[in-house]
Amino acid sequence: MDIFLLEAVVNGILLGGVLALLALGLNLIFGVIDVVWIAYAELVMCGMYAIYWLYAVHGVPLFLAAPMAIVFVAILGMLVHKLIISPILGSAPINQLLATGGLLFFLQSFATLLFGADFRNIGLRLPIIEIGDLFISFARLMAFSVALLGMVVLWLFLKRTYVGTAIRAIAQDREIMVLMGVDPKRVYLITSALGGGLAGLASALLVLQYDVHPFIGLSFGPITFMICVLGGLGSMIGGFVAAFIMSQIISVGGFYTSIELSYVLAFLLFIVMIFVRPQGLFGVKS
């Protein structure tokens, strides 16, 4: 195989890891709380600024700044639920979309106010690894590995613990959770913290590869939604698979055409899929 094509495939896989992580967070929240956080990628932006601020401005070591950012975004997630979602949980989905959409603009504007519209970089140069003729960015490799690790930890949490089992159960039968002794409000809050934490983890991985600016969320938000819908909203397996399909289209498609055109291809596939299989790859027909 052509070495550049191979490189594109490898890069696609590496990109898929972080996208899968983001899709997982969004799917988790949608599955449990039945709300789409439009501003999800903006939480990633907040985490990236947090790391930039801690590491590049205040000199906090990265291995401390990253966990702090994860906790910060997890708390943000809980605040989003408490302040925005919880009061309108019973209202029409369109209101919930508008409210989290409003949050998107709020966060973008707030970040602009605090940091200006400039592109910021944490100024860390990570090495490029050479395997034979193949060049792989260490930052991407690490992002992929850590994202995968994060997903495994989350899976174990969902599979092994009582709260994790409740999180999976609540998506299947909301009403009778009370009979099990589960307080749904508490599960929602924990899920929001988890969703925030995943966005925080993603931010720590992305800040190594990308400059942060108030509109960075737009680079990941739309593609994350497409992945979730393509996989079947709420389906975690679906989101995982769709993330790698999308990342391959972007990476390999970009190799054969151009990076701009690759996004066009990804969106085209998405539109076709919506017509052919509206419930998504792993979605359940409603």
Binding site: Y162, T165, R168, A169, Q172, I176, V178, L179, G181, V182
Partner: protein, 234 residues
Amino acid sequence: MLEVSGLEAGYGSFRALHDVSLTVAAGEAVAVVGPNGAGKTTLMRTVSGLLGRRAGRIVFEGTDLATVPPHRIVELGIAHVPENRRLFPRLTVEENLKMGAFSPAARPHFAERLEWVYSLFPRMRERRAQVAGTMSGGEQQMCAIGRALMSKPKLLLMDEPSAGLAPVIVDQVFDLVRRIRQEGFTVLIVEQNVRQVLELVDRAYVLEVGTIGKSGTAAELKSDPAIREAYLGI
């Protein structure tokens, strides 16, 4: 053990129950029978906290359930096997049983109770790793009862355990209920299958359009001419 007095409940502008009073003593099995739409399920849902009450009191072992958040009621010792079983269809049998032991008081006893439920229902042990939604109706009912037993309740509420099952399976389900009784559980059961349920309870109430009509021991009701005509088809 359970005292319901002057209970009123409903959905929206619909009043499903009014002035319902009944008692269940420790160790008893009590049935609530009556036609479709009489409010039997509403009664069960109100007792277990799924539905708020509009008026009246529900007292369980001296605790007014109005003072307890709905998700804490199971900790007091009331478990509810809901209508249509309501298993978590994509969780395995064992995960469903685990959800039954969610409350903090039950968690430390999970392993021993799981063993106990498996000894009561050996079929569930065979199916432990199977996804609950793929089992037969009778097996799902077993799993739903097992899930309720995982909290080691003092009072077991059962809502139409025989509904939607083939006649052969219905007999099996009633055998299950009989075994639950023999284990010493206090049972409040709602059934449409009046003939069979009167064979296994001590007392019964007849719920007619939202309020209690007749009540008495199972033997009294079985020999009551009106009941015989309306429910036993004699």
